[in-house]
């Protein structure tokens, strides 16, 4: 199939990444690759957070938090505002350095994570307060996600010669698939700053997907969307999870979404863990109900 | 017939207070020649100003713009050392004279190499030499063990006197200490504190623009006697000291003209130009200030070069730049001639030649008494024994760098 043909005919749902060549860097999970959609086997612990504490001056954002994430699962983190959910993600991908505790990823333990290392290990992330590159187009934003995999050096790029050009096109092809997948073709060349909020969230997701991550950290990906859009977003997330086996860590305030799509839920309150378990367990946990869910649910 | 004279000026920017009367003087004299004499042997002088703001790049643009006007520019007075550097090379190709009275490259005195440059009446080496001579005189001929400081604008302009002063220091046995001041020099406290610490006997002050009042103020504030300061001519204009008034009392400056004097040319200017309301300066009282007179002298030299060239190439004809250059090279302003021109009281005679593009190098010292400049010394002439070898050495280096074959004169 020519490039053009691929661009013009979006892959059928589920075909995303299907034609993935065995990419360098072991992006495809070796074990547990699904042969069939919808039958994920949840694997071993891939990410283990141990006794994390994080303080900002007097503010205790996180106190002694431990939980783990298993391969291929959808793990939700919930909790009231200011509970420390975003801070937790920030610790995992090295934006914040917790004062205490350690994080184990695929058997390797880190006291401090460094953003680049984390990215190289295959962890991608979306942000609560959009952190898109405002001055760049949708396409370029998502292309930055491919950055880690682009190898040609500065000189080759300046000359845009042979390998550099081929590489650019190869990655462009991948990115186009993500664009198709997220259904944002029409905005390909629009500067992201001009997009409405909801679409920006999608681009943010696209950028993270472009990294072909093993673990995807999503910080309120559905804030500011209506039900229909949330449904779309859920599909995107579940598809990535199903098809590709990507492990998902999700922060979300919409309980409907959390209860429906997550396998296990951690509940934080004032920086402390107050609950951990399957959606049903959490739903009935008294502490959780008091601190977060309230009586209306 | 018409002869075109380009006027590069700076009436704006940092150095405007000096540039304005200077530019006025240049233009006024040309107007005078047209009004009084009907031009040079009937050839009317046409001129156009171009504003450089003392910026080399702008200066180059002005030069390019004006060099081809009319039958070509009669000669450029760039009014800036930086612009002089920038256009010197171009002049070789364009064959147009660059006259730099009292500034420019000191080695360009050597006409065999610098065919197109005319540092008429003196260079910074002249100035430095004369200052030392005056100090020598005050110190009764003995400078052994004395300390002389050079406080200078840290730019090529400020650095020009250094090679000569070093020679002089070796010869006369004084110690030379140097204090560069980073332009623009609005703040010189550390310099003057160092001077207070090192207590030099004299300070030579190679300053420009706002650096001058700032330096004098700082000298006052740190108690350095102004009588022991010698300023270069660009730091010895009326506007430099007027507002400081008594604070600058005793401040010495060197000049290549008899700045305090008024001569016939001033009267003529009043009669033929200002009384007809055609003066360039906004205020007739500007006529006679040092920079204005200097401007008139520059234009006078330009006009005399044209006149001299007309003698050779045809009276009443419009000349090419190259022909005017011949005039610059063959100036001979005798005392009688100067008197006739109305400059007899103001300057000394000049005679240039193919090899000597400076002509003469008379200079004298004036002193500010709190209200006006007074002449305090006789005319000095720079020590050729010292300067000549330096000129030869440096121009030879230039010739080598630039692949110029010195012409024989």
């Amino acid at each position: 199939m020519s490039y053009a043909a691929q661009a013009l005919h979006p892959p059928a749902p589920g075909a995303l990444f299907a034609q993935q060549p065995p990419a360098a860097g072991g992006t495809l999970p070796a074990a547990g690759q699904p042969t069939d959609t919808g039958r994920r086997h949840i694997g071993d612990v891939i990410l283990d957070v141990r006794n994390i504490s994080l303080r900002f001056g007097g503010v205790k954002a996180l106190t002694d938090i431990s939980f783990n994430v298993r391969e291929h699962e959808v793990r939700a983190i919930i909790g009231p505002n200011g509970a420390g959910k975003s801070s937790m993600l920030n610790c995992i991908n090295g934006v914040y350095q917790p004062q205490e505790g350690a994080i184990t990823f695929r058997g390797k333990t880190f006291k401090h994570m460094n953003s680049r290392q984390v990215a190289e290990m295959g962890v991608a992330r979306t942000f609560q307060n959009l952190a898109l590159f405002k001055g760049m187009s949708v396409l370029d934003n998502i292309m930055t996600g491919r950055n880690l995999r682009m190898k040609s050096n500065l000189l080759l790029q300046a000359l845009r010669w042979g390998p550099a050009e081929r590489e650019e096109i190869a990655h462009r092809e991948k990115v186009e698939r993500i664009i198709d997948f997220l259904e944002i073709q029409a905005w390909r060349k629009t500067p992201v700053g001009r997009l409405p909020y909801g679409l920006q969230k999608r681009v943010d997701l696209g950028r993270a997907l472009a990294m072909e991550p093993q673990v995807l950290l999503l910080d309120e990906p559905m804030a500011g969307m209506n039900v229909e859009e949330k449904q779309d977003m859920c599909r995107f997330i579940l598809d990535v999870n199903d098809e590709f086996g990507t492990t998902i860590v999700l922060i979300e305030h919409d309980m409907g979404v959390v209860m429906d799509i997550s396998d296990r839920v951690v509940v934080l309150d004032y920086g402390k863990k107050i609950g951990d378990g399957t959606p049903d367990e959490v739903r009935t946990n008294e502490d959780v109900v008091r601190a977060y869910l309230g009586t209306s649910h | 017939a018409e002869q075109f004279v380009p006027l590069l000026v700076y009436r704006t920017g940092q150095f405007a207070p000096l540039g304005i009367p200077w530019a006025d003087g240049k233009q006024d004299y040309l107007k005078l020649i047209n009004a009084r004499d009907g031009g040079v042997n009937g050839v009317k002088l046409v001129f156009e100003e171009c504003e450089t703001a003392y910026d080399a790049a702008k200066g180059v643009e002005c030069y390019e713009r004006l060099k081809g006007k009319g039958t070509g520019a009669s000669g450029f007075d760039p009014q800036s050392t930086g612009i002089t550097f920038a256009v010197t090379d171009k002049a070789f190709n364009d064959k147009v004279a660059i006259q730099t009275m009292g500034y420019g490259l000191s080695q360009s005195v050597d006409g065999t190499v610098f065919e197109w440059n005319f540092p008429l009446l003196g260079t910074y080496w002249t100035a430095a030499d004369v200052m030392i001579q005056d100090i020598l005189k005050k110190e009764k001929g003995n400078l052994k063990g004395k300390k002389i400081a050079l406080v200078y604008h840290d730019s090529p302009y400020g650095k020009e006197p250094i090679p000569l002063l070093q020679k002089r220091a070796a010869k006369d046995g004084f110690e030379l200490v140097m204090f560069p001041v980073t332009p623009p020099g609005v703040e010189q406290k550390s310099t003057w504190l160092q001077i207070r610490q090192q207590r030099p006997d004299y300070v030579l002050f190679w300053s420009a623009g706002v650096m001058t009042p700032a330096g004098i103020r700082e000298a006052q504030a740190s108690g350095f006697p102004r009588e022991k300061m010698y300023a270069i001519w660009w730091a010895g204009s009326d506007h430099d000291v007027k507002d400081i008034g008594a604070g600058a009392k005793g401040y010495n400056a060197i000049t290549i003209h008899n700045s305090a004097a008024r001569d016939k040319v001033h009267d003529d200017l009043k009669k033929f130009v200002y009384d007809k309301g055609q003066g360039t300066a906004s205020d007739a009282s500007q006529v006679g200030v040092m920079a204005h007179t200097r401007g008139m002298m520059i234009s006078m030299l330009q006009v005399e070069a044209i006149r001299a060239a007309q003698e050779k190439f045809g009276k009443g004809k419009t000349l090419t730049p190259e022909q005017v250059k011949w005039g610059f090279e063959n100036l001979d302003l005798t005392p009688e001639r100067l008197k006739a021109l109305g400059f007899g009281e103001i300057m000394r005679p000049v005679k240039t030649s193919c090899s000597n593009h400076m002509g003469t190098d008379w200079a004298r010292i004036v002193q500010w008494d709190g209200g006006k400049w007074n002449i305090t010394s006789d005319w000095y002439q720079a020590d050729q024994a010292l300067i000549d070898p330096l000129v030869k050495e440096m121009s030879a280096k230039y010739a080598k760098d630039k692949n110029i074959k010195p012409r024989s004169c």
Partner: protein, 309 residues
């Protein structure tokens, strides 16, 4: 020892003079998030107005008194600076609400050109005099303690006092008044400030007026020291390391930065300069500032640079 102290004091005094100009930058930055490139031009403009009015007024009104001339000239110059602020708001800032700081910086550059041109067109480009009776001669202290005594410039001392006073009052204004708070809000987010009803136009006229008045004070002090002429706008360059070292958003920072830069550059020039060939104080000031910034990237007292995701 005496000489060291003299240098130190000299530097501190020079620093206060820088601070005076730096204050103008800080003020406008703090209150509108704009790095006002035109501050130097405003100093020039204000000083020109002051110098020329004090010369013209006695001629126009036919009186002799120097004192009266100065007082009237100051009043008139203040009025002029407020007018300038009003015009700037009307013609430039108002149209650029919500734009990125860099666009506003650029606009202030346009304003610089305009003010430079206008100032010299109206008031002339020669050197003019401001004489508010600042004492010029030095005083010598502790003659019995140190050989040669300690030389101190009275003029600088006055100037230092004035800047200290200005800083104190402006600090209070920012921290304690509702307008001060509104000004800081505007600096953070123009749009949000608008959305809660802070009238940007009025705020900007206020800020730029205060900026103009601070420029006038700086202009008077520097002008009486150097004479008033285009070069006076270049003192802004000396104020740059001061502002940045002190922190772009801190009024007291301007003073502390000034003191550090002033004394640092003098000491370096005198004690280090001779080994390096002299004339190092200019870049040394920046290197000094750089050294501090490496420890505190937001300047000594500046608001912390916020990056959160």
């Amino acid at each position: 020892m005496g000489f060291f102290l003299e240098t130190l004091f000299g530097g501190l005094m020079a620093g206060m003079l820088y601070a005076l100009v730096a204050l103008g930058f800080v003020l406008i930055f703090k209150a509108s998030g704009v790095f006002n490139f035109a501050q130097g031009a405003m100093v020039l403009f204000a000083a020109l107005a002051m110098a020329r009015f004090s010369e013209w007024l006695p001629q126009w009104l036919g009186f002799e008194s120097r004192f009266l001339a100065n007082v009237l000239a100051i009043v008139l110059a203040v009025v002029v600076m407020i007018g300038v602020a009003w015009l700037i708001e009307r013609l430039a800032l108002r149209q650029l609400v919500g734009q990125e700081p860099i666009a506003l910086l650029m606009a202030t550059l346009g304003i610089t050109y305009f003010i430079d041109g206008a100032g010299q067109l109206i008031f002339g480009s020669a050197t003019y005099k401001i004489d508010v009776g600042m004492p010029k001669d030095p005083m010598i202290l502790f003659e019995d303690v140190f050989q040669g005594g300690l030389l101190l410039s009275k003029e600088d001392l006055y100037a230092a006092l004035v800047s200290a006073l200005l800083v104190a009052s402006l600090s209070l204004f920012f921290q304690k008044t509702a307008t001060g708070r509104a000004l800081r809000a505007v600096a953070d987010d123009h749009q949000a400030a608008q959305s809660i009803g802070i009238p940007l136009s009025r705020i900007w006229v206020i800020v730029w007026s205060i900026g103009g008045i601070v420029a006038l004070v700086a202009g008077i002090i520097w002008g009486s020291k150097l004479g008033v002429q285009f070069s006076i706008s270049l003192v802004a360059l000396k104020a740059l390391p001061v502002v940045i070292l002190g922190g772009l958003t801190s009024v007291p920072g301007a003073i502390v930065g000034g003191l550090i830069i002033g004394s640092g550059e003098k000491l370096s020039e005198i004690y280090l300069g001779p080994f390096l060939g002299g004339g190092i104080e200019n870049w040394f000031a920046y290197v000094l500032a750089l050294g501090f910034l490496l420890v505190r990237p937001q300047g000594l007292f500046g608001d912390k640079i916020i990056d959160r995701v």
